[in-house]
């Protein structure tokens, strides 16, 4: 029996089981049971996926939920917020209305026992993606007093192509410090640490008509650069790609991936520096290889950086391979998550 040398716990975002729910193989209780069965102790959920009473919630549902937490030996860890600015066809929600909706999520999280709300902040996937102004720093500022009252932490999901130390996130932390309300913190999504495109994306693009040979050459070049310990510079292989006569689909795919993955994974030194202050982590993955490793993220190193940096909190499996692979048939989400939890447990034990 080894002594535990970290304070990291493992959860599952029920997002991972979306096909099981959508096709009525498992209801909410079944998804919680699946998460518990994978060995996880934390549950991340979002209301609009699996809680039909949203945006209101009955005491009866709260009792059911609490009963499930007890029966399956798990705890609520994160509740997901969305920023539906464009709710009407011809009119956007005002800031006041978006603040009110934000409060709905925070109050519901409190009722269900979630200590963290993943807030869909304006820059979570970088600037200029959404046609709407989402939950920006002015709106978060108006949510913090309620967070302070209810003791709810807002987690800013930092997603590729942004980084942890990106100034777009720092402005929120500065504002919270100025207000003396430290109820907003950073949450890395492991998509930041992708070193190559996933096989799940390659497969989908090929089924939609892209050229397998070109996409695999691109992916292999990214992998080779990573394992050589060098940044991936697309311009160095651009000539070779051109010689393979890429179609528009191939070019679009490469352009998009160059934007998302860039020259390689974000710095693990930065992750280690920030680790002790992080409030939550999304263990993002799309596919696993035959050795049980995530096919495009170096989990052993990412988790080592979190351990060394003293992260205290949950890492939740967030499987996104379902929506990239389910056009070709049933994706066994339950088995993917089980193997992913096994991988993370192993990384934590090392």
């Amino acid at each position: 029996m080894t002594t535990k040398n970290h304070d990291i716990k493992l959860g599952v975002s029920l997002y991972s089981y979306q096909d099981n729910y959508y096709f009525h193989k498992h209801d909410l209780e079944g998804c919680i049971a699946a998460a518990a069965g994978s060995g996880a102790t934390g549950i991340e959920a979002f209301a609009e996926m699996m809680m039909p009473e949203w945006p209101y919630i009955s005491d009866r549902f709260v009792d059911l939920w609490n009963g499930w937490m007890r029966r399956y030996g798990v705890e609520p860890v994160a509740f997901d917020h969305f920023s539906d600015r464009g709710m009407w066809k011809n009119k956007e929600l005002s800031d006041e209305e978006l603040v009110e909706r934000g409060k709905l999520y925070i109050r519901m999280a409190k009722k269900l026992g979630f200590p963290v709300v993943r807030v869909l902040h304006h820059e979570h996937i970088g600037r200029g993606i959404s046609p709407y102004r989402l939950t920006d720093v002015k709106i978060v500022e108006q949510l913090l007093p309620l967070c302070a009252e209810l003791d709810i932490m807002l987690a800013l999901e930092c997603h590729a192509p942004t980084t942890l130390h990106d100034p777009v996130h720092q402005q929120y932390l500065d504002m919270a410090e100025r207000m003396g309300m430290p109820y907003v913190g950073l949450m890395p999504d492991f998509s930041m640490y992708e070193y190559c495109v996933s096989t799940a994306d390659v497969g989908l693009a090929v089924r939609q008509g892209a050229t397998r040979e070109i996409l695999e050459f691109y992916r292999n070049s990214q992998r080779e650069a990573y394992f050589r310990g060098e940044p991936f510079i697309y311009e160095e292989i651009a000539d070779q790609v051109e010689k393979m006569n890429p179609s528009d689909l191939d070019r679009n795919f490469i352009g998009r991936q160059n934007h998302m993955v860039g020259t390689g994974p974000e710095s693990l030194e930065i992750l280690e520096q920030y680790a002790s202050k992080l409030v939550y982590c999304h263990g993002k993955f799309y596919d696993l290889d035959q050795d049980g490793q995530v096919d495009n993220i170096d989990y052993p190193k990412v988790i080592q950086a979190l351990k060394k940096g003293g992260y205290k909190g949950y890492i939740s499996s967030e499987f996104e391979g379902n929506r990239r692979m389910n056009d070709a048939g049933w994706v066994d989400e339950i088995e993917y998550v089980r193997r992913h939890q096994e991988l993370m447990r192993k990384c934590l034990a090392d």
Partner: protein
């Protein structure tokens, strides 16, 4: 990617009153990873056997409520009536005589507004057997 599952073959049939057909219905599932308020629907355009369905004759039934289709497109439509993830939205088309029992080609164009993307347009076409 749920686009090909928007049209469901479950529950397609004529709608009856007093022993005669007064319309027909098809069931739709949302093609997104979460439910959306009905006010986030930009358009549901139905075509049956090549003929466009008049939006004024369409009624939506979901989660114990019924809404005239055109109402959900109005500004100020309540934001708390959700099209639940994985659950069927029943579209009833009022039409004297309903639909002939048997197989019909149905297609739908579904446009939805999602919080951080512009309107997403999806199409789904299937041959459905109407009861």
């Amino acid at each position: 990617m749920y686009d090909k599952h928007i049209l469901s073959d479950e529950g397609a049939r004529s709608v009856w009153e007093d022993g005669r057909k007064v319309g027909y219905c098809v069931n739709l599932k949302i093609n997104y990873y979460r439910g959306l308020p009905l006010c986030c629907v930009d358009e549901i355009a139905l075509t049956v056997d090549g003929e466009e369905v008049d939006p004024e004759t369409m009624y939506l039934q979901h989660n114990g409520r019924e809404y005239p289709y055109l109402d959900i497109l109005k500004d100020d439509f309540p934001t708390d009536f959700y099209w639940l993830f994985g659950e069927k939205l029943r579209v009833v088309v009022k039409k004297e005589g309903g639909i002939e029992q048997g197989r019909h080609t149905v297609s739908v164009v579904l446009k939805t507004r999602r919080s951080y993307t512009p309107t997403m347009v999806a199409e789904c076409e299937k041959v459905l057997t109407f009861a």
